[in-house]
């Protein structure tokens, strides 16, 4: 972060803030390793990429604008059902499915943002929780449309670009999910380094000061909430398309809560936190549930307590502190 030693010009300094670091390039290259190292785990890798995208959407509102949500699965589920239903009723083209999911989730996000932008802290947690539960029950009761607890059957996706089928080994699924994750990550990265991103950080750092510098905080919050909802919707659509099924679980409280856990685990407010958190969480679940599936949450509890106590800024926060100390030596 800090440019020690040489004092740069203000522009050069701000420019350097947004420059790609070697470690970032290494991170993205490492995501290609599963093809070679774990060819049997590409389905899991695909699910991790999807969850990472979902976590990225939460990071935009929580890590940057300070909006805590316990109901973000609402948008994930909306995206899932949109893409799923579209395919079930005859339109199985993947990319347009994603777009439709983004639009539906974005519209619902925008509609609720008028309420979201008026509240802070605990009230916000309860509101988002309420919206999430509400939507979950709606989907449950509308079983004629959603399939209810049985899930949405009959989702069938067309080939990617009309050429690559979604195979059993998850090769196409992982490539597809990873590519979408990367594109939307680039978008999020641009966004947080823009003047709008700076305003979001201002809202997070001091909500009371923003009106005193003339900033329309509510409008900013509405914008980022809508964007975040749309991205969550795309993540949901990816899951529906790559697994060719949609269950009520996509809308569940557990999904919202787990998402928050992942983000805290990885470190909020640093873009990569959600990605790293999602990977740790899902690999840990895969491994632990092999040993003792019924006690899986015990280990997540342990992990969460340890991280919050010893690494208040998540795994990435701890790492950046370590490297800062190492550099000073």
């Amino acid at each position: 972060m800090a440019l020690t030693g040489s004092i740069a010009s203000p522009q050069a300094y701000l420019q350097a803030q947004g420059r790609w670091q070697p470690v970032e390039v290494a991170f993205w290259l490492a995501l290609l390793l599963p093809y070679v190292l774990f060819p049997n785990y590409l389905s899991l890798a695909s699910q991790i990429a999807i969850t990472a995208l979902f976590a990225l959407s939460l990071d935009l509102i929580l890590g940057y604008a300070g909006i805590v949500s316990l109901g973000h699965a609402a948008f994930f589920g909306l995206g899932s059902y949109t893409a799923g239903l579209l395919s079930k009723y005859g339109w199985g083209e993947p990319f347009s499915g994603l777009l439709a999911a983004a639009i539906v989730a974005g519209i619902v996000g925008y509609a609720t943002s008028f309420i979201i932008a008026r509240f802070r802290h605990l009230a916000l947690i309860m509101l988002t929780l309420g919206f999430g539960l509400l939507l979950g029950e709606l989907a449950n009761s509308a079983s004629w449309l959603t399939g209810g607890v049985d899930g949405l059957q009959g989702v069938h996706m067309w080939k990617l670009f009309g050429y690559f089928p979604f195979d059993l080994y998850g090769r196409a699924a992982y490539t597809y999910s990873l590519a979408i994750l990367f594109v939307l990550f680039l978008f999020a990265r641009r966004l947080i380094n823009s003047p709008f991103g700076l305003s979001l950080r201002g809202i997070r750092e001091n909500w009371t000061r923003m009106p005193a510098i003339g900033a329309p905080s509510r409008r900013h919050i509405q914008t980022i909430y809508t964007i975040s909802a749309a991205i969550a919707g795309i993540a949901g659509a990816l899951l529906a398309q790559t697994t060719e099924t949609v269950s009520l679980e996509t809308l569940s409280f557990e999904r919202s809560a787990e998402l928050l856990v992942m983000l805290v685990l990885g470190g909020a407010g640093r873009l990569y936190g959600g990605l790293v958190g999602a990977a740790i969480f899902m690999i840990a679940r895969d491994q632990f549930s092999g040993i003792a599936p019924q006690y899986w949450y015990f280990w997540i509890g342990v992990l969460l307590v340890v991280v919050v106590i010893f690494l208040p800024n998540g795994v990435l926060g701890g790492l950046s502190k370590l490297t800062a100390r190492w550099r000073r030596k």
């Binding site: 203000p10 641009r190 823009s194 003047p195 991103g197 510098i213 900033a215």
Partner: protein
């Protein structure tokens, strides 16, 4: 005769049975430097909160120039040229001074909705922010996170943030609050160096500072204007001496 830069008429505010502002009528001509003084609990900060819209008055009017701003949101008042600073630091702890002031400049210039281009591409906004920081002698520490800045510099950053909104009227709530006396002069020197077109109202307890930097003084007691006049008039007013200057109590 041009309209005053900022004026209030019959401004009143109560919290339950507690009257914190009683029929306040003030009028700040363009370019003057007003001091707002009064004992603790006189309602000085409340008055600033009312004028900036952080509190809604029960009665009365607030005018910025000729425009009635009584019903405007705080950020709308800022956009029209009424800015304030806070007695207790109200900064962005995790941003550095350059980022914080650039943020304020971007908001004023209306480029805060740009989510595509990098901040660094808005060269003019950054230069403007940097100039403000240099003017307040914060240029050499503008890359340091706000929370790591020495307290006195944080007080200056309070002013820098307000200046970034290009105010016509600036309300300073105890700009040197908590700063050791030998350093408070620096902060007021910075205030004194501001443009002459800027209309200033500041709350301050140190009478040496008040008499040195204010061209006009308003004395507030119990939520009402008690006296108003030039420093010479105020210091000669026996009633003011009695309620305020005479008692050596700070507050």
């Amino acid at each position: 005769m041009t309209a005053p830069a900022l004026s209030t008429k019959g401004l009143a505010k109560t919290f339950g049975s507690l009257v914190v502002a009683r029929d306040i009528a003030i009028s700040l001509p363009k370019g003057v430097r007003y001091a707002l003084i009064g004992p603790n609990g006189a309602g000085k900060t409340t008055l600033i909160n009312l004028m900036t819209g952080m509190l809604k008055p029960n009665a009365g009017q607030i005018l910025l120039g000729e425009e009635d701003i009584t019903d405007l949101e705080p950020q709308q008042r800022v956009r029209r040229g009424l800015a304030r600073t806070f007695q207790i630091n109200t900064l962005f702890p995790g941003l550095n001074a350059l980022e914080a002031v650039t943020l304020a400049v971007c908001e004023r210039r209306g480029i805060s909705r740009d989510f595509w281009r990098n901040v660094s591409e808005h060269r003019e906004a950054i230069e403007e922010a940097h100039d403000i920081l240099v003017k307040l002698r914060l240029g050499d520490s503008c890359y340091q996170p706000t929370r790591e800045l020495p307290y006195g510099r944080q007080r200056l950053l309070e002013i820098a943030l307000a200046l970034a909104t290009k105010p016509k009227v600036l309300l300073l709530d105890e700009p040197a609050a908590g700063v050791p006396q030998e350093e408070s002069g620096d902060i007021f020197e910075a205030v004194a160096g501001l443009s002459n077109d800027l209309t200033l109202l500041f709350i301050e307890h140190d009478m040496h500072v008040v008499f040195r930097f204010a061209s006009h003084i308003i004395v507030l007691v119990g939520g009402a204007i008690f006296a108003e006049g030039s420093p010479a008039e105020i210091s000669a007013d026996p009633r003011v001496r009695e309620v305020y200057l005479g008692t050596r109590k700070h507050g």
